[in-house]
Symmetry: C2
Amino acid sequence: MKNLNIKDIAKLAGVGVSTVSRVINQHTDVKDETRKHVQEVIEKYNYIPNNSARNLKRNESMDVGILIKGMYNPFFARMIQSIEKRLSFAGYSAIIHYNIEGNKDIDAANEFILEKKLKGVICLGGDFDQLTDQEIQRLGVPFILASTEIPEKLNRELFSSVIIDNEKAAHDAVTYLFEMGHKKIGLITTGIEDKSVGTIRTQGYLRALKEHHIEKRENYFDVGAYTFDTGYEAMTRLLGKADDITAVFAISDVMAIGAAKAIYESGKRIPEDISIIGFDDIDYAEFYNPPLTTVHQPVEEIAESTADIMIGILDDELKHQHIVFDTEIIKRNSIKFLG
Amino acid sequence: MKNLNIKDIAKLAGVGVSTVSRVINQHTDVKDETRKHVQEVIEKYNYIPNNSARNLKRNESMDVGILIKGMYNPFFARMIQSIEKRLSFAGYSAIIHYNIEGNKDIDAANEFILEKKLKGVICLGGDFDQLTDQEIQRLGVPFILASTEIPEKLNRELFSSVIIDNEKAAHDAVTYLFEMGHKKIGLITTGIEDKSVGTIRTQGYLRALKEHHIEKRENYFDVGAYTFDTGYEAMTRLLGKADDITAVFAISDVMAIGAAKAIYESGKRIPEDISIIGFDDIDYAEFYNPPLTTVHQPVEEIAESTADIMIGILDDELKHQHIVFDTEIIKRNSIKFLG
DNA sequence: TTCAATTATGAAAACGTTACCGAAAACGTT
DNA sequence: AACGTTTTCGGTAACGTTTTCATAATTGAA
């Protein structure tokens, strides 16, 4: 029972193929009567148009790519799901690809697009500091950066972004720590040199310190890579070289929780001996013991905006735009008030 | 700068289109000399064959679908990533789709395949108890069930599966609880009526009870839906109607962690007052406080096997097969020894 | 009724590949 | 040199759509 094609349907319905095509694509120039009849035949024989043929003719696909930077990460995992849901509802497919490798995030995107003839690309995370307007234009499809840092030199009409203000969020987090009486504040971050999200959050930390006249101490820093393990290791080192800290700011919840394990293993308690604040507000944070104080990113909204922008642009109803969502400190029980 | 096609390359290389096609597809019947020359031209002009045209001609795609049952779930999220990695390495794309809806998991798969002309489908979770051999055959593509329960009546040559023995794993978990001195053991599961994973794990629990001559008590059960929230709610109810339990077995780590929160809020401690054992061994478990004792599923291996089977079958090097991985109880600190 | 304007339809030419088929070229054997 | 084999190659017909173009059917105005 081979699959029917448009010709078969045309014959079955007693019309020409172009009429069937018009019905499928909801063109207006077909008589209501014939439209209904053709639709019935399509229904009856369960005909599904061949996507490859359609894509070939139209020279495009209905696929949008999601390129994810880095290893497994619950925050991105959550975003992917919401994006896919919305994309799929609008008739698009999500093709996901994890870009584990290094720094050429834009090249990865480009290859991805060319190979799969994608209609658009969404990047989750990644470092685009070297990105140029030219490169974006060469991509040739709507390009959205989500949950990353946006280089300022870029022409903002060429792409969309949906992000948070990482510098401010980090600043607020350590300010909150300060308000709770903490002055010796450790930092578990992911970078200090580049222009990545981690570095920007580090800058927020630094600004808050300066603002409250707290001296910056090199031995209060350590670096991980957005995983439980590396958070654990970073904290272990921190405990060794900075045993006087009363609080630590980890720039991701998973690192915060990794760090917590190191704290417990060192015989200290949270928050009695060391306070800790995370970043992201993954659902695990609320259920951690003690419930983790953290800066909340509206994942769901970020994901939905991202998808909606892509859909809007693809449907020609939207131009590129740049959204920055507010973050919020969710106060739970991992921070002690020092008075 | 429109994209080049195979004809352009043929002209540029001074050969026929079929020769270029042969080079692209690594056919053997082309002289080494010409092959090299054509390859150089392809390289030079950065030519990428049009996938739609190729798929149309070959009447197939290079896409394999991943259909995921239920809402966001860190266990599946992790599997998706590993499967995608491997699939992508072998030249296939992963098209993911979350099948939130009800029970017609096979219909979802079928529609998915037809619409996207998928080369194969992998289902993560889902309930296939109503599935028939006929339906599988009608799918027409390699079909792999992962991390779910496999109905016995099915002809095992028609599909692959990679699973664990849920009944035994659950049985082992509560047996371990028994060996640690527990006799009043609560259960947080997801179902008791159907043929789902949850029900099978419930049966393992029941068998262990019987084996150790522990009376089954209806008020020791409660039901959630694989989320933190529902685990929390289930435990809250359990605490109300069964305040004498000394341990609880949650059939997923996220429900266990949700349950833990309810336990803490009731003023009890883990494991001093109530012991808890989870299922899955998601990475949260190791980093939870206290580290959660749980039954470990080899996610990575399950994912890799799943992908490898799909690739093997697609490349005609493998037949359908059925793998069941061993689980293992990871003893951490959420269980008290009652003596 | 007649003609122009509009609407509805079908035929056929693409879109960029692959694969079949036959022919040319290269090779070996006598 | 003549022949049969084998290797290498090019022409071309599909694959199932969409879209353009021409034409047939319908409508409206005179």
